[in-house]
């Protein structure tokens, strides 16, 4: 699984202990800009923001993660009982919250619940985005409920892109991550396959895969509004 973004750096020790116990991958980030620059290729799985030591910094981080057309979710906010009043009219900035000090079982249950709600975690075999759904167990892709007839590489490329909506990938990244070997076509192959995928998605949904000029490709709306 992709890592969770955790704020602040270093995070409260009781939080890291809970995450490690639960087997969650995580990475601590202090600076909101680094949330963008240090984002892994597959994107962040979600975020846990702890507001007890630096409440203003925590809200700044939440706002950054929730900005753009593809706000990061799920986002779990940790705060002290005295900070509850600060949540007023900021309900858009998080998906759930948990009072500190955290109890390991409660944190685990809240994370599981959040991932279940956002369609990940407990149903890892499905990737969904708008009209598109991919069943990773049966290798089937549907758009508007209609099955798509894809070749293996078309399917793998679509799966990779749709698993990280909003993220821009270069041709080289796509080639190494999706093809992962010396293919006859080299990086141009990516263009060829994107062209084929768009044709199969049909006119109405071809726009799900955006060409980002002189960079590469992005699936779905930009997460950071660029």
């Amino acid at each position: 699984m992709n890592p969770l973004l955790v704020f602040p750096d270093p995070p409260p020790p009781e939080l890291t202990q809970c995450l490690d116990l639960g087997g969650w991958a995580w990475k601590a980030i202090d600076d909101p800009e680094r949330a963008v620059s240090d984002e892994p290729d597959e994107g962040w799985a979600g975020a846990i923001v702890s507001a007890d030591t630096d409440p203003d910094g925590a809200m700044g981080m939440c706002r950054r993660l929730r900005s753009g057309e593809m706000p990061l979710e799920p986002l779990l906010l940790l705060l002290g009982g005295a900070q509850l009043a600060d949540l007023d009219s900021r309900y858009d900035l998080f998906d759930d919250f948990c009072l500190m000090p955290v109890r390991p079982a409660e944190l685990e249950a809240r994370l599981q619940h959040l991932f279940w709600r956002s369609g990940r975690g407990t149903r890892p075999e499905l990737v969904e985005y708008g009209p598109l759904a991919l069943n990773l167990e049966t290798y089937q892709a549907v758009v508007d409920g209609q099955p798509l007839d894809l070749t293996y590489m078309e399917y793998e490329l679509l799966k990779f892109l749709a698993s990280s909506p909003g993220k821009v990938f270069t041709r080289e990244t796509l080639l190494s991550r999706v093809w992962g070997y010396d293919y006859y076509g080299g990086a141009r192959t990516v263009d060829v396959h994107v062209r084929r995928l768009r044709a199969k998605l049909g006119e109405k949904h071809a726009g799900l895969i955006h060409t980002v000029r002189s960079v590469g490709y992005r699936f779905g709306q930009s997460r950071w509004g660029i």
Binding site: T138, Y139, Q140, P147, D149, T151, Y152, M153, E154, Y155, R171, E172, G180, Y181, D182, Y183, Y184, G185, G186, A187, R188, T189, V192, R195, R196, A199, K200
Partner: protein, 450 residues
């Protein structure tokens, strides 16, 4: 096979097996190609596919053109799972899938009579030299009322004509939908110069995928024509007096993801690699013409001229040249390419792409010098003027082309001994049959007078 390619292959096979199960596929067609470029198919039930993935499908190759050998006639068809497609024209109640196969010997080594393996081998040599070849053919064909007797054309339209009422534009549209569904993107399609003649230009892709695509396209065009009650032909020159059908093919080489033919510092944007690649194509063109134009009939197209090249020459803006270098659009260096105009659509695309690649690469390896551009249309020059320019003609018939090929180490090397020798034998026999035919021309001109 190393570990990652093994994992990749088993992932692809798993994908195909699951798709077959999920989509209720009833029949899987294993496709391959004989040496003459004819499409072959064996259907198996989906239940057998997983065994065939593991062990291959054993069959007697001796009845397939170019597959026969003295010692051992059995070969294995090994499906290339990455090419699996659901057939868009299969009935929805009986979905069927297709997959291209590589042919191997029983010990698993590539079968030397398999054109797809020949192209793989040539692409691997190019890959070892750091190059990947991309192709984009422009495939012409005629719709005829039937497939026997005097050809009957469907319309009297011409280039780019929008023929709202004619049957053929509907057929072409349906063909395009089929091709897109089969992962074969079409760049343009339009009514060609001649009546009832059409052209489909494919979007560039790597040479192996493109050769597969040409095979699928020929099948799809014929299939849809047949459903519409007409006949589609890729015969190079089906009708007297009007131009034949070609398969002008755009070629480009990429190195490390960038176009190796482009050089921004050059006046015309052409790199040294591009220049010697073109020189290689020109230098070896006569000896590879039997492969790019393999029928007796192919030379009727070439000799007729029009858009078919008769002379070994290159140019930027002269469409009578054998190699044309289309002007690269500003800001699009990756579209730099060369267009080889001799090919016709009755060729075996695997073998034709193999010899083109081998000829171009030989030019690059040896650093051939590019001859002067042919700025004027060579057809307009007298033979002596052509000689002064040092312009050679392409072979004017199959026999001449075979003589040239027989002397060619380059073509022998590109095709491998097995195919090289079989092809020459087979084509010599075809020419010998043809030479003894009394033609309608002779009956018309000689019978009344002699």
């Amino acid at each position: 096979m190393d570990e990652t390619s093994f994992e990749r292959q088993s992932g692809q096979q798993d994908y195909v097996l699951r798709t077959i199960e999920e989509r209720g596929v009833r029949l899987v067609r294993l496709w391959f190609t004989d040496v003459l470029g004819r499409h072959k198919s064996v259907a198996i039930s989906p239940a057998e596919l997983s065994t065939v993935f593991e062990e291959g499908l054993q069959f007697d190759g001796s009845a397939i053109d170019g597959f026969s050998r003295v010692q051992e006639s059995d070969v294995l068809a090994r499906p290339d799972a990455s090419t699996f497609e659901l057939l868009p024209w299969a009935s929805p109640d009986e979905p069927s899938g297709t997959v291209f196969c590589d042919i191997t010997n029983l010990d698993g080594s590539p079968f030397e009579g398999d054109p797809r393996q020949v192209l793989r081998r040539n692409l691997e040599s190019a890959h070892a030299a750091g190059f990947e070849m991309f192709c984009a053919p422009e495939i012409e064909f005629f719709y005829l009322a039937q497939n026997t007797g005097e050809p009957v054309l469907l319309d009297q339209a011409s280039y780019f004509d929008l023929t709202t009422t004619d049957v053929s534009s509907d057929l072409r549209k349906r063909t395009l939908h089929m091709l897109e569904a089969l992962s074969i993107p079409v760049e343009y399609s339009f009514h060609e110069d001649a009546p009832s003649q059409h052209e489909i230009d494919l979007q560039y892709t790597d040479a192996l995928t493109m050769a597969d695509s040409v095979m699928t396209l020929r099948l799809a065009v014929k299939k849809i024509a047949m459903e519409g009650g007409v006949y589609a032909t890729f015969m190079p020159k089906p009708v007297n007096g009007i131009q034949g059908s070609g398969m002008h093919t755009h070629l480009s080489l990429f190195r490390d993801g960038t176009n190796a033919f482009y050089d921004g510092d050059d006046e015309h944007g052409l790199s040294a690699t591009a220049r010697s690649f073109i020189a290689g194509l020109l230098h070896h063109s006569r000896e590879m013409t039997a492969v790019t134009n393999q029928l007796v009939n192919s030379y009727k197209r070439i000799n007729e001229g029009y858009e078919a090249p008769r002379y070994v020459s290159w140019a930027r803006n002269n469409r009578s040249a054998l190699v044309r270098v289309p002007v690269t659009k500003p800001g699009k260096p990756d579209s730099t390419r060369v267009e080889y105009r001799a090919l016709d659509p009755a060729c075996n695309p695997y073998l034709a792409f193999s010899v083109l690649l081998a000829a171009g690469l030989r030019g690059v390896e040896e650093g051939y010098d590019l001859p002067k551009e042919a700025a004027v249309s060579l057809d307009e020059l007298s033979r002596s003027e052509q000689r002064d320019l040092g312009v050679a003609g392409l072979p004017t018939n199959l026999a001449e082309a075979l003589d040239e090929m027989e002397e060619s180490k380059l073509v022998r090397n590109a095709l491998g001994d097995h195919i090289f020798e079989w092809f020459l034998r087979n084509k010599r026999a075809e020419w010998s049959d043809y030479e003894r035919q009394v033609t309608p021309f002779e009956l018309e001109h000689y019978l009344p007078n002699w």
